[in-house]
Each structure stands twice: as structure tokens, then as C-alpha cells.
Symmetry: C2
Subunit: 369 residues, 2 copies
């Protein structure tokens, strides 16, 4: 499974795996794909350093990358405290009441909210980059908007390719103008922040819009058939995130959450603003229902919503409060029915891809191998 | 492009085209695909007879089919007048006010509402079937739920295959239990009534759920790349509806609507209950916005909403009131950028399919032709 992009990166399969877990990222690269470590959860540079050291020690020389969340436009001189002060008291009260209704305990004394996504603050993302550029990363992905020009320039100086996620052809064209190298076309069915255009329509639209830039298809991909479909649509590879959440190398720290993921069907996710203030696909829970209920106060814009719910989400996860427990995940969650090693999942993807190619070749009346 | 199903039906390409226009249906079958005439707009049996006669005269002996809307469960003894009486006066007033706000004129004296979809009433659908079974149709599709058992039996007696649309694997399995022969897996991105699961996820899910029944992929398909993707996902063919709306053989009776379709991008549709009371993807207009506005009265359940807006929609269409003018159409509308003959569209699909197969074969490192 070789495309121009996979050849450029020296990988065996054009399968890119996004994950917050170093062990998953390393396993994906070792399997012949390209592991991309999500950096958003790292607040201390030393934690990121520790995990990149771990990847270096376990990736067997294969290439890998890093995913940060960095806005192209920054607001000068605004601190987290300033942003906190913008949150209306009524919304804080709604959080308190909802947690009380379900009897969600406090975090243990001295334990900080682990979920707080301070990686979204630009200064944190820049500190992450200072760490990351000391490692031989081959790809830097930005999950929200085009990366700033100086970051693109610095990456290119270090021979690091820059990727950016787009939910529409218009966004993809903006990324291209910002000088990036790869567009990740993120369809409606994807986990996390998504637009409304489904992968079947979005992938070829983005491919045509940014030609000759390579495009990775993201959203709805969790089998070899879907890999083949994405490549038929014109993608130079696929970008998978959800599928790795239930691998044995993943460390969700929550057996209850793993159980919920394994039990969920493709219809059990929702595109909700509950988590960050922007629409992000996630497991549908009584927590997302409460925020999406027209009778409630509704969600706040990013970044207010994320700050508002950070402690609450940490408490829900820490104490595994089942009806409220969720995570960003795509519609492909319906295919995640058992905990398996990354290598097994990868083998299924590549074997399924070959079978899908056999099928299409047969339908097209081609001679085959 | 041959699958088991296309061989069974004796067609050259596994491309099924749904359309309300006899000239389009005949042209699709003549091009080597399978034309399916939508019957929902026919109120008088003689009109359907006239159009089936026309197809017979123009289809050059190729197979074709009919699509009806028939509920599996019927409500005995309920007339259209009974249903009309259930509509709250406040909703009628909202329709009046909205039409007045845009200065929508009345229909000319004596002109009936052409849009009224009485084909949804079961007695009308049965009259349509009595007509259709006198013609050598090869396929009977039901757009809403499983067809009644006696209809399936009658179709099978006459060697007519029965298809039903499904937006989830659960619905598909119900159809299979009802004895149908083909499932049309209708993804979120499709025009008309849709669920929330996108084609990339839905197609393989339905294929696996109803195996060995053949599945047609619907939703987001308007190019040969998308045909190849759908077949890679396990479909035995594709079901296209939107793409034909801007063909030269289509007769929308509205140059303004054709212009809107040609100008619309993939992000210009919305899944709204405004038309029928069930979520149906259509062009987003100020009419759908009015119904989807939380400040308005909201929509009524099917069939009330359809009856409530029937006259209004006819007036909007008749007088081409631009901001309100819409039609069911899928996200693929972004690809419909010029009026072209059905044969041209078909040639693009088959040529694009071959190119997509070339591409996938190359990526897979196969020998090619």
C-alpha cells in the first residue's frame, strides 16, 4: 500500500494513527504505519519529553509525528484567569447541579484536573514545540486551523512536514495558502471536532481543491474496506484516531469507559459542543444530553466551555460515573468490539485492504494480481 | 462493472438511478444502468400509466423499476381530511405569515397543488402498484420502511425484485426479515430522508448485517471515485438520486431552482423536518431556516407536516420565490455544476470508476489490467 506520501515518509503502509498514548503511537509506526502522538493533554514540558524519549526507545527507528492544537491567530495578554472570569455564574451553577444530581464525588485532595486541556493555550503549544523539535519527528499536525507562519517555517527548516485538519474544501485551501504540506480531510463521521460534510463527499472535494497537495482521509475509517474506499476517493493515505482507543496498548485509565466503547454502536455518538464549545463527535451520554437540552443553559463558545467543564469531566472520569462517562470518538466505534493489540488491528486493516482491492478488481473485470 | 446483482438484472453497470422523471429513468437504463421511477408525485393512476407507457417506448428493452412510498403498517379508516383536522391552527398561521412576509402569491385559480404528496397515503400507493404490475418492471423499491407482506409476495410472483431503503443496520435487518431482496443503505449525506450514519460507516455495516443480501450504497455518490469507494465498501452497486436533477432530461419546471442547484456547494444542504416531518436532506433555504428556528412553532410529525406545507411549497415553486425555493438533494450537490445529458453524466461515472480502480491497483502494487 504505497502512495507518493508514504514513499516520501519511508513507511510501508499509508496508514496514519493519531493517539494520545505513546505506546500506541510507537506500535503503529513499528507495524509499518505512521504514529502521531497527540500533545494536547501535556501541560508540563517534562512530561512530553519523557513520553517522546519513550517513543524513541520503542519505535525501532521508524518515523513518527506530533499533533498539537495551536490557533493561527493569538489573543495577546489574555491569561487563563481572564478567560475563567468570562464564564457566567449560571453556567457554573448548572455544572454543580448536574454533578450533584448524579452524586459525582470531588477529586481527591491535591489531585489536579487531569483532563484540563491547557495545551490549547498557545504558549503551552509553543513550549511543546520547543520540546518536540529536539526529537527527529517527521510530521507536525495542527488540529485546529492553520499553524502560525513561523511554526511552518521552523518545521520546514528541520525537514518536518506540516499537516492540518480541514472539514471543508474552503478550510483546506486556507491551509494550503499557509504553506502546509498535507491536508487531513476530517469528515462528519469522525471523532473529535468535525464539520457537517461526510467523508464520501469531503475527501474528493478536498483532493481536487488542494491538488497537488496530498490529502489524508479521516472519519469513518476502521477497516481495510474503508481504507480502500478512501484511497479510491483520491486520498494518499488514511488518518485513524478512534480505532486505537480500545487497543491493549491504549491506557484509558477507565475500564468502565473501555466497556462503553466496546458496547457502543455507530449510532451512539453525537456531534456536541459540550466538550469544547465547538462541535465535536463523542459518545452520547447523559452529560452531552444535558448540554444539548434546549431547556438547559446551552454551551459556551470555545475556549470558555472547555474551561467550564474541565474539573467536572475529570471528576466524572476519575470516579467512572457511568451515565455521564464519555470520550471523543467517531461513528466507527460500532466496529470496536474487542480489545486487541495494535499489530492485530493493523493486520486486519492491511488484509482487509487487499481483499477490498481483490473485490474491486473483480467487479471492474481486471485481470487481478 | 459487474456484480452478482447487475448480472442478475442483466445490466452493464451496477449504477441505479432514482428519479421522478420518466425521460431520466429511460436514459439511465439506455446508458447501461438501471433507471428507477419515483412514483410518489403521481396522484392519478392514468398519469403513472402514461409515463410508464412513455418509458416502455423509450427504454429500448432495457430493465427499469419503480419506487413507491408505502408504510408497512396502515391506519384503517383515516382519511386525508381526518389528518388535516389534526393540524394546530397556530401552525397554519405560521405558514400564512411566512408566505406573506415573502409576498408569495396564491396559485392561479383552479390550479391544484402539484406538490401534494398523496402518494404517501397507502391507498394511493396500492393503486400505483396495480398499474405498475401491468408493466415489465424488474424492481420495486420502497422508500419508507419495509413493504407489506402481500406486496412482497405479489412482486415475487411476478419476478420483480423488492428493495427497501435503510439508514441503519437495525432497519436493514428488519427489511431482510420482511423478505426483501435488496437493501439500499442510505447514508447521512444523501438527499431526502436520511439517518445520521454516514455512508463510509453505514455501507459495510449494512453489508455485514444482511449478508448475503445485496446492498446498494446511497448518499454522497456522484463521481466514479465514489462509485469505486462504495464497491470497495462491499456494496453490489450504487443508488444515485441527486445527480440526475440537473441533467438536460430532467424537468424541474423551474429555471431558478436549477440555478440554485448548480450554484450550491456541499455545505448548502440541511437535514430538516420542514418538508415531511421526518429528517430529510434538502437545500437549505429561508423556508427550512424558518421551520428549524427555535423561536418558531417547529415542525409537526409525519404526515401532518407534509399536508401542512403542501400548498405553500407548490406556491413557492410555481412562483419561484428564490429565498424559499428548495428541493431534496444530497451533499453531492456541490459536484453538480452544469446541465448535462444523462449519457454524459454516465460516461463520467464509468470513466472515473476505471481511473479510480487504476489508482487503487497502483497503490496496492498489483499488476494492473
Amino acid at each position: 500500500m504505497q502512495t507518493e506520501l508514504s514513499k516520501k515518509l519511508g513507511i510501508e503502509y499509508a496508514v496514519f494513527g493519531f493517539t494520545p498514548f505513546p505506546a500506541v503511537a510507537a506500535a503503529i509506526s513499528r507495524a509499518g504505519g505512521f504514529g502521531v502522538l497527540g500533545a494536547v493533554r501535556y501541560t508540563a514540558p517534562d512530561d512530553l519529553k519523557r513520553d517522546l524519549d519513550w517513543i524513541e526507545a520503542h519505535v525501532e527507528g521508524r518515523p513518527y509525528g506530533l499533533d498539537v492544537v495551536m490557533p493561527a491567530t493569538k489573543v495577546e495578554g489574555v491569561t487563563e484567569a481572564d478567560v475563567e472570569a468570562m464564564i457566567p455564574p449560571g453556567h457554573r451553577e448548572f455544572v454543580r447541579q448536574t454533578l450533584a444530581k448524579y452524586g459525582v464525588p470531588e477529586l481527591p485532595e491535591g489531585e489536579a484536573a487531569g483532563w484540563r486541556i491547557t495545551g490549547w493555550m498557545e504558549q503551552v503549544a509553543r513550549t511543546q514545540l520547543d520540546v518536540a523539535f529536539d526529537y527527529p519527528i517527521r510530521l507536525l499536525a495542527n488540529a485546529l486551523g492553520s499553524p502560525p507562519a513561523d511554526v511552518v517555517a521552523r518545521a520546514h527548516e528541520q525537514n518536518v512536514l506540516v499537516a492540518a485538519l480541514a472539514g471543508s474544501a474552503r478550510h483546506a485551501v486556507k491551509h494550503q495558502a499557509a504553506g502546509i504540506d498535507i491536508v487531513v480531510a476530517q469528515g462528519y463521521e469522525a471523532g473529535g471536532h468535525t464539520g457537517e460534510i461526510a467523508s464520501m463527499v469531503l475527501t474528493p472535494e478536498v483532493v481536487d481543491a488542494v491538488d497537488p497537495l496530498p490529502v489524508l482521509a479521516a472519519g469513518g475509517i476502521g477497516s481495510g474496506r474503508q481504507v480502500a474506499a478512501a484511497l479510491a476517493l483520491g486520498a494518499q493515505g488514511v488518518w485513524l484516531g478512534s480505532l486505537w482507543l480500545t487497543t491493549t496498548e491504549a491506557d484509558l485509565h477507565s475500564p468502565a469507559l473501555t466497556r462503553k466503547l466496546l458496547a457502543a454502536g455507530s449510532g451512539d455518538t453525537v456531534r456536541s459542543r459540550a466538550l469544547t464549545g465547538k462541535p465535536a463527535r463523542q459518545l452520547r451520554t447523559e452529560w452531552t444530553d444535558a448540554w444539548d437540552d434546549p431547556a438547559g443553559p446551552g454551551t459556551l463558545p470555545m475556549p470558555l466551555q472547555g474551561l467550564l467543564v474541565a474539573d467536572a469531566v475529570s471528576r466524572i472520569q476519575k470516579h467512572e460515573v457511568d451515565p455521564l462517562l464519555g470520550t471523543p470518538v467517531g461513528q466507527i466505534v460500532g466496529r470496536m468490539t474487542g480489545e486487541r493489540a495494535v499489530q492485530d488491528v493493523f493486520d486486519d486493516l492491511t488484509r482487509g485492504f487487499e481483499q477490498a482491492v481483490d473485490r474491486v478488481v473483480r467487479i471492474a473485470g481486471r485481470s487481478g494480481r
